[in-house]
């Protein structure tokens, strides 16, 4: 079977869904249409992906490589992930309408201590050419990288083997306390922390 291929595509769809939800809420917190548009693009991509996966599953099922229950589980799983993507798009839709956001929206969505950062990685930063695994940003700085934009390409839910390069735009969450520290690190300024 194309099991490995189905797996890869399912994982991609699941990661899209997770990131879309994060980005959709962020688009409202920052009243940022670019982020909302990004959610829309990802939604289209995810739709196409879902169709493709469903077709693969049905083909495998027809050829007897999947039992009825397995087929059912996979198809329902794909449609649930699609449902999550739809929810994210509905949220981004609010940002893209030509209506001012209700102030309560931002207040209720923003979490009390977590903040969202979007910052370009400076070539002066010691983070350049390191992998996220080496940098341990989450365990050392409480900073989670949600997505990396490199040129026109997006890398969602980057993992420990993802390399950072100068010019990357990092989308991350961190705490208010750590904001300055993280920003300085990305900008390569006043660094107290250096990485070996």
């Amino acid at each position: 079977m194309s099991e490995e291929e189905v797996r890869k595509k399912l994982l991609e769809l699941k990661e899209n869904a997770d990131v879309m939800i994060d980005l959709a809420y962020s688009s409202l917190i920052y009243d940022n249409a670019d982020i909302a548009n990004e959610v829309y693009e990802l939604e289209e991509e995810s739709d196409a992906l879902a169709w493709e996966i469903q077709r693969m599953i049905i083909k495998d099922s027809k050829e007897g490589m999947l039992t009825i229950n397995e087929t059912l589980a996979l198809l329902r799983f794909v449609s649930a992930l699609e449902g999550m993507c739809d929810g994210a798009r509905e949220i981004a839709d609010v940002e893209l309408r030509d209506i001012d956001l209700h102030p309560v929206l931002k207040l209720s969505i923003e979490s009390s201590d977590e903040i969202f950062l979007r910052e370009t990685l400076s070539d002066a930063s010691s983070l350049c050419d390191k992998t996220l695994g080496e940098l341990r940003l989450a365990s050392e700085f409480g900073a989670w990288v949600i997505a990396v934009k490199r040129g026109n390409r997006w890398y969602y839910n980057p993992g420990k083997y993802t390399h950072l390069k100068a010019g990357d735009i990092l989308y991350m969450t961190t705490t208010k306390d750590n904001r300055e520290r993280v920003l300085n690190m990305l900008r390569g300024k006043n660094e107290r922390e250096t990485f070996k």
């Binding site: 959709a24 809420y25 397995e70 996979l74 329902r76 449902g83 929810g87 993992g159």
Partner: protein, 202 residues
């Protein structure tokens, strides 16, 4: 029927009555649930855990109740056309949070098919982040997540506290008490640090 099972069934049939509660509070809870429920349902599948699946069902039922409540509040809050325009956006977000929760709950129901096939659970192992339930240790009683500086020291996020039959979401300033179970998201290393921190270590 399990204790949790009774709780969510009761929530599902609860009569929704008007209660003065502001839109901001309700929407905040809905947003928090929409994020928590996806994590929980992934974990329910990964660990094939019926307790987690029951938590998901409870939250889904709670979400339905909240969706009713927020509609009532929004209708009462609209004074003119401009208000209505803006409040429509709030209801849209509430509806979307509900859509996300429904989808997450659907994922959990896949466990009913009792699959041997590891394909779906394996998808949730990929991520570098783990979601674990950790019982709070005596050292942390009376201290909140923010006093313990959990996020800055370990990178872990305490997503919620399960206290008795209720949930406390985004419990930044809520002091832990005996019997609390924290739902924590972090890297393997971060979770280890968190356990050490809970025992009063650095």
């Amino acid at each position: 029927m399990s204790k949790l099972g009774r709780i969510w069934r009761r929530e599902e049939r609860r009569k929704v009555e008007y209660e003065a509660r502001n839109v901001r509070e309700i929407l905040k809870e809905m947003k928090d649930i929409s994020e928590l429920i996806t994590d929980l349902s992934y974990s329910a599948i990964l660990f094939n855990n019926e307790d987690l699946a029951e938590e998901v069902r409870y939250l889904e039922a709670r979400m339905d109740t909240l969706n009713y409540e927020i509609r009532m509040q929004a209708m009462l809050a609209a004074r003119d056309a401009e208000d209505a325009e803006k409040l429509a956006g709030i209801l849209q977000v509430a509806e979307a949070a509900e859509t996300i929760s429904n989808a997450a709950a659907d994922i959990t129901e896949i466990t009913k098919l009792k699959l041997e096939h590891p394909l779906i659970p394996s998808l949730f192992k990929q991520s570098d982040e783990l979601l674990v339930r950790i019982g709070i240790e005596p050292y942390a009683y009376g201290k909140s997540a923010s006093e313990l500086r959990i996020r800055s020291k370990t990178g872990c996020k305490v997503i919620a506290i399960r206290r008795g039959i209720s949930w406390i979401f985004a419990p930044k300033n809520e002091p832990f008490i005996e019997g609390d179970v924290a739902l924590v998201k972090g890297t393997e290393e971060g979770i280890e640090k968190f356990r050490v921190l809970l025992r009063g270590g650095q």
